[in-house]
């Protein structure tokens, strides 16, 4: 707890805030920081990412560093909880006479259709966002008692930094009043000429404070507020003496405004006037982005999204001839609720819609990369030709595989190879771990178990065959081995294997046997208790090394994890270096004394830009050298790598980068499930040979 205004940072709060978001909204998200000098409009949220400033100044009223960020995250979470993006054109709402268009959606998103019905979609989105933010914030304050106090100071702080009304043209000034209304302002001084429109806006906004207001209410309010604002000129400044206006929803003057009718004209453009008004963003809220047009995955600025989805491009400066023409068009009707003919939206997710941060980097062949989202990590790469590390060269992106419909793959694998399980478990128990524990009532052991002996004696006296399990055995405690399995998901794992003569109708791919092998080991590891993580890896270049996390090392086993195994799919390429570095880092952080990294692949390391810069001849040596370097880094961190390949030619290149007892080449991929288990045992035992005395816990 600190006193006085201070700067607080997002770093260190990301995970707890992301979980906070998930608890409030039932949706996971990535928190993506942006720097303070960045323009906020460039950072709209997407369906799965929340963009927040990396640092904020908070006033003395803030009790903890997280309070400002919690308010910002709660606001975003409540967008989902209160259905902002589940807008339905046909759903009724209880407050307004319906002015929304009733159109055939033709598989288009209702938000896109709704905003497309305005002649100025960007402006309509801004108005809607301000009104919807009001509804959201009122609901948060009403339902989350504990957020009231931080919300109050965050909103007061936001109000204190709003632009000066006196310097704004009338339409922009009225829009600014709308934003202030959404921040809870209940009284304001405005020039006399703005008094009536401001009261009209306030009367519309007051409806949204009701607990019964829905996103459709916000949409109806938008039509009305848009109409009020559109009738105001956007040149010069508002006229008349300042007058105090009460914005309290219970005010009598405001109640009178409730029955106002929509104007008959939208706007009269004059001279070099620009229609669109840029609402000054409120820092703790998300800025309107493509989500408001139904493009959930896109993180581009709103105007660009409008350009991509509509035929209309709202230009900031237009010729007087064009303005005159548009003025006539605009004056021919009020809100254009019938104009829904828009260009079809682009496919989603858009190819480069990861956000403006990445623009220009996608096809880059030079320069370091940055981690721009949660679950992204950058690693260096060893450039063997230059004999130097390329710093921050590869970006590893962690994600979950698509969850399969069931644990069918796992169950089938265990069923198929169940004959291997008992021996494997027995072997695992035998080679066991360094820590020791006592197991009672065993058939073999170092000590007699007293209770079991008495029971056996009783059995003998009553003429029943006694149990032989009368010993206490000292066995190895299982919790000192941790292993990460990295499964190659390159496109070649989709290749079909020769048909097994014992199962003539069955077609299997390399990936299928990889998955089976991992399932079998998982079943065995569950029995003996070794910690493990399962990852699939692939990629499409150094900026996109994909790591599919089936089960993280620290994660507990769950039914979902078994489903994820089914979700592993063949993808693209095999860039091993960054994957080895990333998993070695994970293993390094684990407390278990034995750390194993098992890489299961079907071919040599290869990627789209993995040495190609030095010509085709250099590709394999370059990739092997980086992989070898990554393996050495892992060894240096106490992680013992073990490579298993089903590439029959694997020996040719693996012997150049590994010790002979660090890899194994399988001639027939179909033998992988049976072999992987024994190879794991071999790798585990190899480590034990080098250990010292055992300790009894």
């Amino acid at each position: 707890m600190t006193a006085g205004p201070r700067v607080v940072g997002l770093r260190g709060l990301e995970r707890s805030l992301a979980l906070f978001h998930q608890a409030l909204s039932d949706r996971p998200c990535s928190l993506v920081p942006y720097e303070n000098d960045a323009h906020e409009r460039q950072h709209p949220d997407t369906a799965s990412s929340v963009r927040l400033p990396s640092h904020v100044q908070v006033p003395e009223a803030a009790r903890t560093d997280a309070e400002w960020y919690r308010v910002a995250v709660a606001h975003r979470a409540m967008h989902h909880e209160l259905g902002t993006f589940s807008f339905d054109l046909s759903r009724d709402e209880p407050f307004f006479r319906r002015l929304r268009p009733s159109v055939d959606l033709q598989e288009r998103n209702p938000l896109e259709v709704f905003f497309g019905s305005f002649s100025r979609p960007v402006f309509a989105v801004e108005v809607f966002a301000a009104l919807e933010d009001l509804r959201i914030d009122e609901s948060v304050i009403r339902t989350w008692k504990g957020l009231r106090r931080p919300y109050n100071w965050v909103r007061e702080d936001a109000l204190a930094s709003r632009p000066d009304l006196a310097e704004l043209p009338p339409r922009t000034a009225a829009a600014e009043v709308l934003v202030r209304l959404s921040l809870g302002l209940d009284e304001i001084k405005v020039p006399e000429s703005l008094r009536s429109p401001v009261l009209q806006l306030a009367s519309v906004a007051a409806v949204l404070t009701s607990p019964k207001a829905t996103v459709e209410t916000s949409a109806e309010a938008t039509v009305r507020a848009y109409s009020v604002l559109a009738r105001l000129p956007n040149l010069g400044t508002a006229t008349g003496p300042p007058t105090r206006v009460s914005l309290d929803g219970d005010d009598a003057e405001l109640r009178e405004q409730r029955s106002y009718s929509l104007g008959t004209k939208e706007v009269r453009l004059e001279g070099s006037e620009v229609f669109d008004v840029r609402f000054a963003p409120v820092r703790y809220r998300d800025v309107p982005g493509p989500r408001y047009l139904g493009q959930q995955a896109s993180g581009m600025p709103l105007r660009e999204a409008i350009l991509r989805t509509t035929a209309e491009a709202p230009a900031p400066v237009e010729s007087s001839e064009e303005l005159s023409q548009k003025s006539q068009q605009a004056e021919s009707g009020q809100v254009d609720v019938t104009n829904t003919a828009r260009a079809a939206p682009p496919p989603e997710p858009l190819p480069h819609d990861h956000g403006p941060d990445l623009d220009g980097h996608h096809h880059a062949t030079e320069g370091p990369l940055q981690a721009t989202a949660r679950g992204e990590y950058v690693y260096p790469e060893w450039d063997d030709v230059a004999s130097a590390y390329l710093s921050d060269w590869c970006r590893v992106r962690e994600s979950r595989p698509r969850i399969g419909g069931s644990a069918h793959v796992y169950r089938q694998a265990v069923m198929r190879h169940r004959h291997l399980l008992p021996e494997l478990v027995a072997e695992l128990r035998r080679v066991g771990s360094d820590g020791l524990r006592r197991v009672h009532r065993t058939r073999f052991g170092d000590e007699l178990h007293l209770d079991a002996c008495i029971e056996a004696t009783v059995d003998l006296r009553v003429g029943v065959t006694p149990s032989e399990a009368i010993y206490t055995d000292v066995t190895r405690d299982a919790r000192d081995v941790v292993v990460a399995f990295a499964v190659d998901l390159s496109s070649s794992t989709a290749e079909r294997l020769p048909v097994d003569p014992r199962r003539p109708g069955e077609v299997r791919r390399i990936l299928d046997v990889e998955r089976e092998a991992v399932c079998l080991l998982v079943a065995a590891l569950e029995r003996v208790g070794d910690s493990y993580g399962i990852y699939g890896f692939s990629g499409t270049g150094r900026q996109d090394v994909r790591l599919r996390v089936v089960k993280d090392i620290a994660e507990r086993r769950s039914p979902a994890m078994l489903h994820r195994i089914e979700g592993l799919r063949p993808e693209h390429t095999t860039r091993m270096g960054p994957v080895i570095r990333h998993l070695a880092r994970k293993l390094k952080n684990d407390a278990a004394p034995t750390k194993l990294l098992m890489v299961i692949s079907d071919g040599r390391p290869f990627d789209l830009d993995y040495g190609q810069q030095y010509g085709d001849e250099a590709v394999l040596p370059y990739a092997l050298a980086d992989t070898a370097r990554a393996l050495q880094e892992a060894r240096d961190q106490g992680v013992r790598p073990y490579l298993v390949t089903v590439d029959a030619l694997g020996d040719d290149y693996l012997r150049t980068i590994c010790d002979p007892d660090e890899y194994h080449v399988l001639d027939d991929a179909r033998g992988l499930p049976a072999s992987l288990a024994s190879l794991y045992l071999a790798a585990r035992s190899r480590r034990r040979r080098n250990q010292g005395e055992l300790t009894l816990r």
């Binding site: 979980l19 989350w144 029971e455 059995d459 006296r461």
Partner: protein, 284 residues
């Protein structure tokens, strides 16, 4: 004045002992039907969602109905399973005494002989060779072979076996064998909805509805993190604990901290997020 039968009087005297249980769906009716048909019942559900309370309630219900019909029914026998439990722990064993050896029925045998509901809590924790003794009891034979005596005990007509387990966190190696699992009618349990849970918390923790509703909302929000495999629960039981502390004057945030935050996770970041939700609910 209408006369009261002795059965009605006995049932009325049992009314005061009724365990508090609010049905979520049709589980009580289902159980009654299963009991009438003597079909063994398997209860599946997360920890602290009310499985044990349900069994206590239906056992009481069985006794009350028996009293109304003018006869006594045995009570509930609960056995908490664990991986050191042997078949002898269930069935019984010979013991030594000054006079020699004598046979001591285990709790299962006792219930089989005397009737009533025998409840095996967390049955998958027991070793598979232990649960095999249940097989003859849970099919048409309804008998318990006691190997060491060389005898078979026929189940009392009122006997019913009920088992429970939590399919979420136990490892696959502890799943029930299909041969065991398919002898039971399975009733799935989950945490109640917010309204029902509010009622449960208010009753059990003896707190006002507003505080109970806040705890129920906290619980439902945190269970979203359970779905995401971040934490387990929190169970209704934990929320009742928190409510009980609040009811005794402990600050709500402190009560949530000790009863919920610390209980659901040891990870600092997860605890921070849980604390954040608790502060959003109870903060001032």
């Amino acid at each position: 004045m209408p006369s009261i039968s002795s059965g009605e009087a006995a049932a009325a005297s049992l009314a005061d002992e009724a365990p508090f249980y609010l049905p979520v769906h049709d589980e009580v009716d289902l159980f009654r039907t299963a009991y009438e048909q003597r079909i063994p019942v398997l209860l599946k559900g997360p920890t602290g969602c009310g499985k044990t309370r349900f069994v206590e309630f239906v056992a009481w219900d069985v006794r009350r109905r028996a009293a109304l019909e003018g006869h006594d029914a045995a009570g509930l026998v609960t056995i908490t399973c664990h991986d050191d439990m042997t078949a002898a722990d269930l069935v019984g064993r010979h013991l030594l005494s000054a006079e020699g050896t004598y046979w001591q029925d285990g709790p299962l045998t006792s219930a089989v002989r005397n009737g009533g509901i025998c409840y095996l809590d967390e049955v998958v924790e027991a070793r598979k060779d232990t649960t095999v003794v249940l097989h003859a009891l849970t099919d048409h034979r309804r008998m318990l072979p006691i190997e060491r005596l060389g005898r078979t005990v026929e189940a009392h007509p009122d006997f019913l076996l009920v088992v429970s387990y939590n399919p979420g966190y136990q490892s696959s190696t502890k799943d029930l064998k299909p041969s065991t699992r398919q002898r039971f009618l399975a009733i799935g349990f989950d945490y109640p909805g917010e309204d029902l849970e509010t009622e449960v918390i208010a009753h059990e923790a003896r707190i006002d509805d507003e505080t109970a509703a806040a705890l129920a909302r906290l619980g439902s929000r945190l269970r979203r993190l359970d779905k995401a495999d971040v934490l387990e629960g929190p169970s209704t039981r934990l929320l009742i604990y928190a409510g009980a502390l609040i009811g005794q004057g402990v600050d709500p945030l402190r009560a949530c901290d000790v009863a919920v935050v610390q209980a659901v996770s040891d990870e600092a970041e997860v605890q921070d997020s849980v604390r954040g939700v608790a502060e959003a609910v109870f903060g001032t």
